[in-house]
Symmetry: C2
Subunit: 329 residues, 2 copies
C-alpha cells in the first residue's frame, strides 16, 4: 500500500485503500460498467465538464463499487451470492452486478419502499424481501448467516471505495489540467474513492465534496477532526435522498481527511435549480443528490477553475422532477 | 467517388456524397463537435443502443453538417462569414460552428420565434435578424449578396450531408454486429449521410428512417420513386417539429433511395411516450424529433435485431416536456 497522504509534515497514515486498488478495480469491473462520457458544459460560465454517471445502466455510479466488491470475493464464497439492504441505487447496483456475475442476490427493502423500486430491483433478477424499516439490517444479517451469503455494504468497505474511485481514472484519462473535481458526499464512498485516485494521479487537482446544508455531517466532521453524526430529523429533510446518511463511514472518513481538500454545502433551492438546469441545458436527467456538484459550481463558477462535476445518478422521483421543472417554466 | 448503390441490377448512380467525403468530414470537424457516447439501453427489450446526439454542445447533430460546410469553404470566402434562416437547431448549429471557426454569422429568424431561441443564438455570438416568417428566405439571400456571405442550407447540400454522416462512423467504431440503424427523417440530411456511411462501411446493417405519420412525405416519396410534397397543414401538426419539412431534399432524396432500406412511421402518442421513457429509463432529455427512433423501436422491439437508435437532439420546449411527463406520472 502506498502513502497517498497530503499531510505536509510527512506523516504517512496507512489508508484502507491505495491507488493501486483503484487501478486494479478498474480492470476488474470493465465488463460490468459503462465507461461514462465526460461532457463539456459549454452552456455554463467558466470551464465546466460533466462526468455523467447517470448514464450507467442502473442510473448511478454505485454499480462500480458493487461490481468490484463482488468480483473480489473468493469463487466459492461468491457462488453463494450476496445480500444488502437498500431501497435505492445501491440495491439496484448489487442486483445488477450479481446478475452480471451469475450469482444470486437478495435485496432487503423497507415495507414502505416505492413499488416502482421493488419492481425495478426484481426485474434485475434479485430476490426482494420487504420488512419493517427498523428491521432491515437485522433481516439482511439473518439472510447472510442462513444462506452463507456475503453482505455488500453501501459505502464503508475498501472494495466498494476502490470501485467508486474508478470513475476518477476515466476522468483523468479524458481531460488534462483539471483544477477541481466536485463530488457529492453521503456516506463518503464516492468522495474517498475519487480522493485516493486523484491524490495519487493528479495531485494538483483539488477534490471538493458537496453536501446539502441539511445533511452537512461530513463537513462538520472534517472540521472537527472526528466523525460527528447529524440528527436524521435534519438529514431526512433534504431532497437529495442519496446523502441523507447521518454519519460518514468509519473507513471512508480517514481517507476523506487525507485526500479531500474541502467540503462545501448547498441549499435545497440550489439543488432543485441545478436539476432543472441540467434538464434544459445539458439534456441530462439527474437526481437531486447527483446535481449537488452542479449546485455548488453554479453558486461560484469562477472559484473552481477547470472543473469536473460528478453527476452521480439519475434516478429521480417523477414528482421531484416535476417540481424542479415547474421552477423554471 | 465510389458507387454506394445497393441497386441489385448493378446500376451505378453517381451520388452527390461518397463515403470518402464522410470520412474526410470526420477529421475536418473533430475539433468542433463532441464525439457523443453510444449507450447500452439495458432497460429496453431486445438489444438497443442509443447514439446520444442530444449531448452535442448545442443539443443536436446539426452541428456536424454546419461545421463541415464551413470548414470546406475557401479561406477568403469563409472569412466573410455565413448566413442561414432557421429558428431551430440548424440556426444554433451554424452560430456555434461559425464561432468555432472565428467567422461572423447571421441567423435570420421569424418575428414570432421564441425569445429563448433568439437569446440562445445571440449567446453563441451570431447576429440575429428577425423578419416576417414569409420573408425569411429572401432576407437571408439579401444578406448573403450584400455581405458576400455564404448560405449554409439546413440539409440539401453535399457538405452538410457528409457532416451528418460522421455520427455513423463513430457508431460503427463503437459497436459490431449492428442489424439496424434507426434515424429520424425530416429533410433527409441525417438519413442520407448515415445511409452513405453505413452502406459502404457496414453493408449488412439496414438503415431505417422514421417519420411521424403526420409528416410521412419521405416514406411516400420513397414508395413512389419521386419526391412528393405534403401539405404543411398536416406536417405542421406533428409535435416532432424537426421533421415538419414538407418535402425531402433534391440532393438527399436519390441518396436515400440508394442507401436507406425502409421508412417507417410512428404516431404522436408514441412519440410523446418515447420522450417520457427516455427521461425515466435512460436519464436523457430528447426532443420529439429525436425520440422518433425510440418510438419506432418500442413499437416492434424484436423486429430490428441489434439496433442503434439515433437520438438526434434534445432541445425540447418545456411545455412539451411537461406534457410528455404528465403521461406517465
Amino acid at each position: 500500500m502506498r502513502d497517498i497522504s497530503r499531510d505536509p509534515d510527512g506523516a504517512a497514515p496507512e489508508l484502507a485503500v491505495a491507488v493501486g486498488d483503484v487501478v486494479a478495480a478498474r480492470a476488474r469491473i470493465a465488463g460490468a460498467v459503462t465507461r461514462t462520457p465526460l461532457l463539456p458544459a459549454a452552456w455554463a460560465p467558466g470551464d465546466l465538464w460533466l462526468k455523467a454517471e447517470n448514464l450507467q445502466p442502473i442510473g448511478a455510479f454505485k454499480l462500480r463499487g458493487a461490481a468490484n466488491a463482488i468480483a473480489r470475493l473468493e469463487p466459492d464464497v461468491r457462488a453463494r451470492g450476496v445480500v444488502t439492504h437498500s431501497s435505492g441505487n445501491h440495491g439496484q447496483a448489487v442486483a445488477w452486478a450479481a446478475r452480471a456475475a451469475g450469482i444470486p442476490a437478495v435485496i432487503v427493502m423497507p415495507e414502505d419502499a416505492m413499488a416502482v423500486k421493488v419492481t425495478a430491483t426484481k426485474a434485475l433478477g434479485a430476490d426482494v424481501v420487504t420488512v419493517p424499516s427498523a428491521r432491515r439490517e437485522l433481516a439482511a444479517d439473518a439472510i447472510r448467516a442462513e444462506r452463507g451469503m456475503t453482505l455488500v455494504p453501501p459505502f464503508d468497505h475498501p472494495d466498494v471505495i476502490a470501485g467508486q474511485g474508478t470513475l476518477a481514472i476515466e476522468v483523468l484519462e479524458d481531460l488534462d489540467g483539471i483544477d477541481t473535481m466536485l463530488v457529492p458526499v453521503g456516506g463518503g464512498g464516492l468522495a474517498s474513492g475519487v480522493g485516493v485516485a486523484v491524490a495519487a494521479l493528479s495531485p494538483r487537482t483539488r477534490v471538493v465534496g458537496v453536501e446539502p446544508a441539511l445533511a452537512a455531517d461530513a463537513r462538520e466532521s472534517l472540521a472537527a477532526g472526528r466523525r460527528i453524526a447529524w440528527d436524521t430529523r435534519s438529514t431526512g429533510r433534504t431532497i437529495a435522498d442519496g446523502t441523507r446518511t447521518p454519519l460518514v463511514g468509519e473507513i471512508t472518513f480517514p481517507i476523506i481527511q487525507a485526500t479531500v481538500d474541502e467540503i462545501v454545502t448547498v441549499d435545497e433551492d440550489e439543488i432543485l435549480a441545478a436539476v432543472a438546469t441540467l434538464v434544459h441545458r445539458a439534456h441530462l436527467v439527474v437526481e437531486p443528490s447527483g446535481a449537488l456538484s452542479i449546485a455548488a459550481y453554479l453558486a461560484a463558477p469562477r472559484k473552481f477553475g477547470r472543473t469536473v462535476a460528478v453527476l452521480s445518478g439519475g434516478n429521480i422521483d417523477p414528482s421531484v422532477l416535476a417540481r424542479a421543472l415547474a421552477l423554471t417554466s
